[in-house]
């Protein structure tokens, strides 16, 4: 099944696992690692699954992750 991930979450998956390019062109093992990462984000409250504008299941960043990133950006700009 094709993995659909929103831009912000994709950025963090890439940051955690190293640059992985197009998630849907990965080897099976690598794809599995991405799925584990997504589930871990989900369990930590940073990712969730919802339907996209075409009614397909998509992984997306939660408001908690967006807030975390906004605060991190503010901290960075203060330094």
């Amino acid at each position: 099944m094709k993995l659909r991930i929103d831009k912000m979450l994709k950025f963090w998956v890439n940051a955690e696992l190293g640059t992985i390019g197009d998630i849907n062109n990965l080897e099976a093992d690598e794809k599995r690692t991405v799925r584990v990462a997504l589930q871990e984000f989900e369990n930590q409250g940073y990712a969730r699954r919802r339907l996209d504008e075409k009614g397909r299941v998509r992984w997306e960043a939660t408001p908690a992750m967006r807030k975390y990133l906004r605060e991190a950006e503010l901290e960075a700009s203060d330094e």
Binding site: W12, E16, L17, R32, T33, R35, V36, A37, Q39, E40, F41, E42, N43, Q44, G45, Y46, R48, R49, R50, L51, D52, E53, K54, G55, R56, V57, T62, P63
Partner: protein
């Protein structure tokens, strides 16, 4: 920032109870905001959150089954296929009680939207385009519910 486990789980992609609790906590925060909010459109934000969560459960039958089982363990018993809408509203409002008729009305609105709303249209826009919450609940009864002809 995040701890990615190196051990590969055999239950990849399962909707865990932690993830379920996170989703319900999100609804509860939204419900609390709604209680404090005086904006008459605030209800749409809450109902959209419920709709978006339950719509993906309905698209993923395993997630739906797991959620239904978890609701049952909490004493919330969805009875029909689409009743997770009502169960999610009740869980969001816990520990406060929501009037049964209100839950029923909102649930009918969401079930009507689930059947007829284009995925690209927001719930608020869809409901307003169809005459508001009361009208959508009535439309559900006429087109899909017990008043169906």
């Amino acid at each position: 920032m995040f701890n990615i486990p190196t051990e590969i789980s055999s239950t990849i992609h399962a909707y865990s109870s932690v993830a379920f609790e996170n989703d319900i906590s999100g609804l509860q925060r939204n419900w609390k905001r709604l209680q404090k909010c005086r904006d008459r459109d605030g209800i749409y934000e809450f109902l959209s959150e419920v709709f978006n969560l339950v719509a993906w459960w309905l698209a993923d039958k395993k997630a739906l089954r797991r959620s239904t089982e978890r609701f049952a363990r909490q004493g919330i018993h969805p009875v029909l296929d689409l009743e997770p809408f009502a169960a999610a509203i009740i869980a969001a409002a816990t520990p406060t009680d929501v009037d049964k008729r209100t839950v029923s009305k909102w649930s009918r609105v969401l079930r009507y939207a689930y059947q007829f709303k284009p995925p690209s249209e927001s719930l608020k826009k869809f409901v307003k385009r169809n005459g508001g919450l009361n009208k959508c609940a009535t439309l559900y009864a006429h087109r899909l519910g017990r008043l169906r002809r």
